[in-house]
């Protein structure tokens, strides 16, 4: 626990140091990221110890705040999230030190590092806190510091708009959390998490708590109807901040939901169904919207929605398993979902960092402006390729392992003999949607990688593109290695999962012993074996091919142009045209608007085509709702006169009314 406190110490020290050193750019360049890295190193050690040994360590200091106590604990569940948070944050900080070189003359970097340190500290506190007041305090600091990081380039109107969207969304979510914790506190008698363990899942309170947790934490995590802030905020933020926010900060929402689930026993089946439905909707719609985007950071943001959907599918399968008393389904659902949290953190931050490198080097976020960057930025391109293969869930990289566990959990449900078809139907829905999501993800990332990095460059943005500096390369290298290693070491990582999911599955796996886990471990050993075999066979074939080719003459020519004499780079397929068949098929959900000015006459001068896909929920749900609310609330404008004495009168009146109501 001392090391955890040291971590907080480093982070806060770094935060305030960088605030005061704002003028000394040279020191700041080092001090800001170094404090994050030191803090993360200090924090990650106890987390690793806890998760490997399966032990929990706690610390409780009484506090002056009413109902609050400084009570923190590192158990395997918290440790899993802590490791992801600290690992990704430290790498993003190193990347940020290189990325921010562009902004050193125009921006106050000190404030940026202040909030960055604060964000990391508050995320760590969120997953460690064991008291509702402390939790909400950390939650709020996390939301605010990330808000300030998002509006880093606040001189742009689009960034300000994105910031406000995020600010409002996250606070609406927090409001639900307040109510939820108050309900739990009333039931348990105290706001310490330890007292929440009494709540029975069948009661009304538990159902309300569950629903509010879905809304409150779902807003942070990006469940589909509540996701609208993600595609706004992620493109607006600097890339290393997007990597932290998309990679780990939204996962605190998942953590919160899972932590609440550990308090509630005997979940009714409809809880699992809700999560499965949310997972299907977020997963499929998320990847569809991603496919329709032209801005690559927006595309990645929608992919976070998709992956949160996959995580929700895993948790839903797990909950169904608990409800229907199917240990295999329960364990693999939760384990797959939670492992996907870590895997997604790794490959999504890798993607955001390499996208940041492209943005840094070319200055454009439009996919259709780029092209051919593989030759100019081979390192970044490889990083993006590894991230793409991993996010598509393809073997032998890490994305496959967690999706595979969810698949196997679903199959356990399909094959279970039970009175109702519940588990089977849940399993079938999950398998079918995961397959569809997988196919669409491949479409989306072949598009992103292929159009950005391959072919010929489509505009002058790429002319001066160059490989990025060392501070930006190293984090990408580390994350690439992590993607490969976690893909190959699935069976080793598996060993910690029983400890992590222990609190969630205790009712169904109580009696079953080591044999239970061992049977699944042997499956993952097989996966490891086949992933290795795949790599070995690929290496072997590459070697054989190079032997074969070394004896041959290799000529170079232009790409086959069908006999056309003047092919230009403009004739290449673009991101929009690549995605068009699929977006047309799903037009009902996407509502892509197109503007075409067709070529006209015998010698057409100009023609243009553009398409735009706005967020369905933003346009059709939230905008009308908020507009209606705004026009209704504007009626109350008349009590706002701008006269101070009247305002004081309002305050006094309100106090008197409250006083009378209490004494009545």
């Amino acid at each position: 626990m001392n090391l955890v406190l040291a971590a907080f110490g480093f982070l806060l020290l770094g935060a305030f140091l960088s605030l005061f050193l704002a003028k000394h750019i040279k020191i700041l360049r080092i001090a800001g990221p170094v404090s994050v890295v030191l803090g993360c190193c200090a924090g990650i050690i106890p987390a690793i110890i806890s998760i490997i040994r399966g032990i929990s360590e706690s610390l409780c200091i009484s506090w002056q705040i009413p109902f609050g106590s400084f009570s923190i604990e590192m158990d395997p569940l918290s440790a899993l999230f802590s490791i992801a948070i600290l690992f990704i944050s430290s790498l993003s900080a190193i990347f940020g030190s290189g990325y921010l070189r562009h902004y050193e003359d125009t921006k106050n970097i000190g404030i940026h590092w202040f909030f960055f340190n604060l964000l990391v500290a508050s995320m760590l506190m969120v997953v460690l806190a064991r008291n509702a007041v402390l939790f909400l305090l950390a939650w709020e600091i996390m939301s605010l510091s990330s808000f300030f990081l998002v509006v880093f380039e606040h001189e742009k109107a689009a960034v300000r708009r994105a910031g406000w969207t995020y600010f409002i969304a996250t606070h609406i979510g927090t409001a639900f959390l307040f109510v939820m914790f108050l309900l739990l506190g009333r039931k348990g008698g105290s706001l310490d998490f330890a007292s929440f363990h009494l709540v029975d899942g069948t009661g009304t309170v538990a159902c309300v708590v569950f629903l509010f947790a879905i809304i409150g934490f779902g807003t942070k995590a990006g469940f589909m109807p509540f996701h609208i802030w993600l595609p706004e905020a992620h493109p607006a933020a600097p890339s290393h901040v997007s990597a932290v926010m998309s990679g780990v900060m939204i996962k605190t929402g998942i953590y919160g939901l899972v932590r609440i689930l550990t308090f509630l026993e005997m979940p009714p089946p409809w809880w699992g169904w809700i999560l499965v439905i949310i997972g299907v909707v977020s997963g499929i719609c998320g990847v569809l919207f991603a496919l329709a985007q032209h801005d690559f950071k927006r595309l990645l943001a929608y992919h976070s929605v998709e992956n949160i959907g996959i995580i929700a599918l895993g948790l839903g399968i797990g909950l169904l398993g608990v409800s229907y008393d199917n240990p295999g389904m329960a364990f693999l659902g939760f384990a797959g979902g939670l492992l996907h949290v870590v895997n997604h953190a790794v490959f999504k931050s890798l993607l955001f960092l390499s996208a940041g490198a492209v943005l840094y080097s070319t200055g454009s976020r439009e996919i259709d402006h780029l092209g051919g960057l593989m030759k100019k930025m081979p390192y970044t391109a490889t990083a993006f390729l590894v991230g793409s293969v991993a996010i598509c869930g393809l073997p032998p990289l890490n994305g496959f392992i967690s999706e595979f566990m969810i698949y196997v959990g679903s199959f356990e449900g399909v094959l279970q003999d039970y009175m109702t078809e519940g588990p089977a139907v849940g399993g079938i829905i999950t398998v079918a949607s995961l397959a569809l999501i997988g196919g669409l993800a491949i479409a989306c990332f072949t598009k992103a990688f292929g159009i950005i990095f391959l072919g010929e460059s489509r505009s002058q943005h790429c002319d001066h593109a160059h490989e990025v500096n060392m501070a930006m390369k190293i984090p990408m290298l580390v994350l690439m290695t992590a993607c490969v290693l976690m893909g190959l070491w699935g069976s080793i990582i598996f060993d910690v999962m029983p400890g992590v999911t222990g609190l969630l599955t205790k009712t169904v796996i109580g009696g079953t012993g080591d044999d239970f886990f061992h049977s699944y471990k042997s499956i993952l050993l097989n996966v490891t074996f086949f992933a290795l075999a795949l790599i070995v066979v690929i290496v072997l074939f590459v070697y054989l091919r190079s032997r074969l080719m070394s004896r041959k003459h290799q000529a170079n020519a232009v790409t086959w142009d069908c006999g056309y004499l003047a092919p230009t780079a403009k004739m290449q397929y673009t991101a929009s045209s690549f995605a068009q068949p699929i977006t047309r098929l799903f037009q009902t959900f996407l509502r892509t608007t197109r503007r075409i000015s067709a070529p006209d006459g015998l010698f057409p001068k100009s023609a243009s085509f553009s398409s735009e896909t706005n967020d369905f929920y933003r346009e059709q749900v939230y905008k009308p709702t908020f507009n209606a609310m705004g026009s209704w609330l504007s009626k109350f404008r008349q009590i706002q006169h701008g006269r101070l004495n009247l305002y004081i009168m309002y305050v006094v009146l309100a106090l008197v009314v409250l006083f009378v109501w209490k004494l009545r």
Binding site: G393, F404, A435, G438, I442, G450, N526, N556, M571, F578
Partner: protein, 305 residues
């Protein structure tokens, strides 16, 4: 048991290009021609491997590595596919690994097509991801129906668990699965009515246009990998029938080989009799396959306990 287990992979590796020959011979027969030799695909591959290569200046190492990665993925998938009830390797959930190996192959084929910067190849790549997105759920739904029926979710357990009595009890469901997988098989291998392997116009091709810029040994590898894919996915269909008949061992192996031959003839007949669907109709065709798989699943869930 053991013979079919150890022979599964060598048989596929050796026999796969033969299927292409059978298909072409069948088509030639229906067109009233003599047709190319049955072993033509072997000659093609051998000749291509001996040739020199030409590369586009636009391409990068992705373009050169993609065929090799595809070949590796399909061979790994092949070790999991049972022949007459037993496969070289098997583990629970291997059907997911199997399906995702093809995902890996597709990812690199598509990316390599985009690597050339050609608009035709981009077009082919776009169609490929479009259609396979719809084919994948159909394949997995069909496999779930079989696994529920056989009570196992490894490929060899699932086919090995089928028996003649399943055909009596759930015949329509199994037939539906076979049809659904057959449609997926046609789509994934770019056969008529989804794609025409013999078309001569870049604008209308799917798989052929993606590999337009390959030459020499790389084209040979692509051809061989494609024939292996035809074999592996075809093996799923043939297994449904061979395993349900309860044939194993050497007899099963022989019947299986005969079944593959028959399948190739059927593909040839389909290609001779049908026209290619318009590209707008292909999604409906694939969604139709998915619907049949769903129907099969419902039948299995509801009426076979």
């Amino acid at each position: 048991m053991d013979i079919s287990r150890y022979m599964a992979v060598p048989l596929g590796l050796i026999m796969a290009p033969f299927l292409l020959g059978v298909i072409n011979r069948t088509k030639a027969f229906f067109a009233g021609r003599d047709g190319s030799p049955l072993l033509q695909a072997y000659f093609d591959i051998w000749k291509l491997l001996k040739k020199d290569a030409v590369y586009s200046r636009t391409t990068t190492w992705i373009f050169r590595m993609a065929p090799v990665i595809g070949l590796a993925a399909v061979i790994i998938a092949m070790t999991l596919v049972p022949v007459a009830g037993s496969s070289l390797f098997t583990f629970r959930g291997d059907l997911i690994f199997f399906a995702y190996c093809f995902g890996l192959m597709r990812f690199f084929t598509v990316v390599a097509a985009l690597d050339t910067g050609s608009s035709f190849e981009g077009m082919g790549a776009s169609r490929e991801v479009h259609f396979s997105t719809l084919a994948e759920p159909a394949l997995l739904l069909g496999l779930i129906a079989l696994s529920k029926l056989a009570g196992s979710f490894s490929l060899s357990g699932m086919f090995g668990g089928l028996s003649g009595s399943d055909w009596m009890g759930a015949g329509p469901a199994i037939a539906l699965v076979a049809i659904a997988i057959f449609i997926v098989f046609l789509a994934e291998n770019s056969r008529i009515p989804v794609d025409d392997p013999n078309t001569h116009l870049e604008l209308t091709m799917i798989h052929e246009v993606m590999i337009l810029d390959y030459s020499g040994p790389d084209l040979g590898i692509v051809l061989y990998a494609a024939s292996l894919k035809l074999w592996v996915l075809g093996a799923l269909i043939v297994n449904i029938f061979v395993c349900a008949a309860g044939l194993t061992g050497a007899v099963g192996l022989a019947v299986f080989a005969g079944g593959m031959f028959l399948l190739a003839v059927i593909v040839g007949i389909v290609e001779s009799m049908m026209a290619r669907l318009s590209l707008l109709k292909v999604p409906q065709f694939l969604i139709g396959a998915g619907s049949m798989a769903v129907l099969a699943l419902i039948l299995v869930l509801r009426f076979v306990k």
